[in-house]
Symmetry: none
Subunit: 256 residues, 2 copies
DNA sequence: CTAAAACGTGCATTATCGTGCAAAATTGCG
DNA sequence: CGCAATTTTGCACGATAATGCACGTTTTAG
């Protein structure tokens, strides 16, 4: 394993979990702890992280708002752009379902401009965000409906399919782990994939949020053919060839 | 867990709840209370918080929006005492339902000492607290199940009675708006009263948390006769005559 | 005033760190 | 291709930091 390869994977780990441990890294990379320390020392000199006893953490400025969104700033901006585009898609006084995932959660701050939405979700974090917003801004009060179920590490609530079957929505917004003309709509999480599959049936319009790097790629679990997606929202960084194929299937494509 | 990781999570907790307790943090992070005190001392030297006997609070100027601790300190301590007594009632490996309300929510910090609970709730705030705790302390992971429904201003989720009918629990813990031998178990919130009424049927043991000043009084909506309550937990400030009457009905009374 | 809880501190234990040095791998050059 | 220079890595070991436990002191609550 190359030294710089290790460095980038350390940073990657750091951005996803917020902290890294010397002992863990030494074990995963099969190198001595001393080597990891030297790596961390170098990355710290480069200003990429902040060393602490036992490991390293992101530098103060890199950590937006404490814990949430430990992803790098550029990633956050892409998320924000996609989320804002998705919010523009929501008509006032409509019923909208929001699925799980960081991209979908990023939509919630933009819902304040709308008047009287009915928001249905199976994501605990999204529900909390919206409930908190309702607290802060009294005048705006959307109706929030939560689908029950067992809480998963991704804040998703799964297992109450009956409740899902009883709802309908004007618009379904969800995050896809992968979207490709040939391999269809996919996700890496089994429960989330199952829920998304059910969501496609409860609404006349389906909006898939896809991270630019996931366009034209496929996740582990198949959900539905790509033609089931009405609108794809992603970033302009997405590769264009897969987009053409999707467009031919009737998917409306929005890049921001 | 890294030291600085603990620090940032302590600050996070502090910003969300307004105050932290040494004992709670020690349980959550699975470390000795001494370690937490040292953490708090360090954070205080850095000007991040203000230490007090038993824990720490945000510094005067930091009060963000005056969000937390709308209740006076004494009220909070009564809450805490009742909540701790309720937590002692929960056996390990059991299925426990937590209803809505501030008293019930106060129970969640004490659930860290238990091993593998299955927690069912219809309260969005409680679900969020527990999910966050699971994030903080990796080793401890309870199973969390959320009853869906429409979100109300009290963070309760109401309207999914079918889901309620399908669950059972070893123990139901809920907050009563009033408890009196003659007028029975009552609440001021119609939805909450309805949910509580259903809860009485799903478990063999029912625990009512009642604020001391509500003992012997009655709320707007009747829920059930007082004899339906197995255990009443309140503070020692509660008036004694009503307690005698309740005791004669077979209600086990615990005052803290 | 008394009992219980929380606190601070010293000390032992354990984990982590930094550094010098040698082995191994990589690179550069004839 | 050979060989020396350079870089990278691993190991050893003294130094340092973090943590838990014990015990005497202080604070709190009734």
């Amino acid at each position: 394993m190359l030294r710089s390869e290790r460095h980038s994977r350390i940073m990657q780990q750091l951005y996803t979990t917020g902290s890294v441990y010397v002992a863990d890294l030494a074990r995963t990379f099969q190198v001595d702890a001393v080597t990891i320390r030297r790596d961390l020392a170098e990355l710290e000199r480069a200003g990429q992280l902040h060393r602490v006893h036992g490991g390293a953490m992101l530098r103060a400025g890199q950590m937006a708002e404490g814990l949430p969104s430990l992803r790098p700033a550029t990633q956050q901006q892409i998320e924000r752009r996609i989320a804002e585009a998705a919010a523009r898609f929501i008509p006032d006084h409509s019923v909208v379902f929001l699925g799980t995932g960081a991209l979908t959660r990023a939509v919630t701050p933009f819902l304040n401009k709308h008047t009287h939405l009915t928001i249905i979700t199976n994501a605990l974090d999204i529900a909390w965000d919206i409930a908190q917003q309702a607290r802060l801004a009294q005048p705006i009060m959307h109706t929030l409906h939560l689908i029950g179920g067992q809480a998963a590490p991704d804040y998703g609530l799964y297992g109450e399919d009956e409740a899902l079957r009883r709802v309908r929505a004007d618009l379904v917004i969800f995050e896809a782990g992968g979207l490709d003309a040939e391999r269809g709509l996919t996700h890496d999480n089994r429960d989330c994939a199952h829920t998304t599959r059910m969501l496609l049936g409860i609404s006349s319009q389906t909006v898939a949020l896809v991270a630019p790097e996931r366009v034209g790629r496929a996740g582990a679990i198949f959900i539905a053919p790509a033609s089931e997606v009405d609108v794809l929202i992603s970033g302009h960084e997405a590769p264009t060839p897969p987009l053409w194929d999707l467009s031919e299937l009737g998917v409306r494509i929005i890049l921001t």
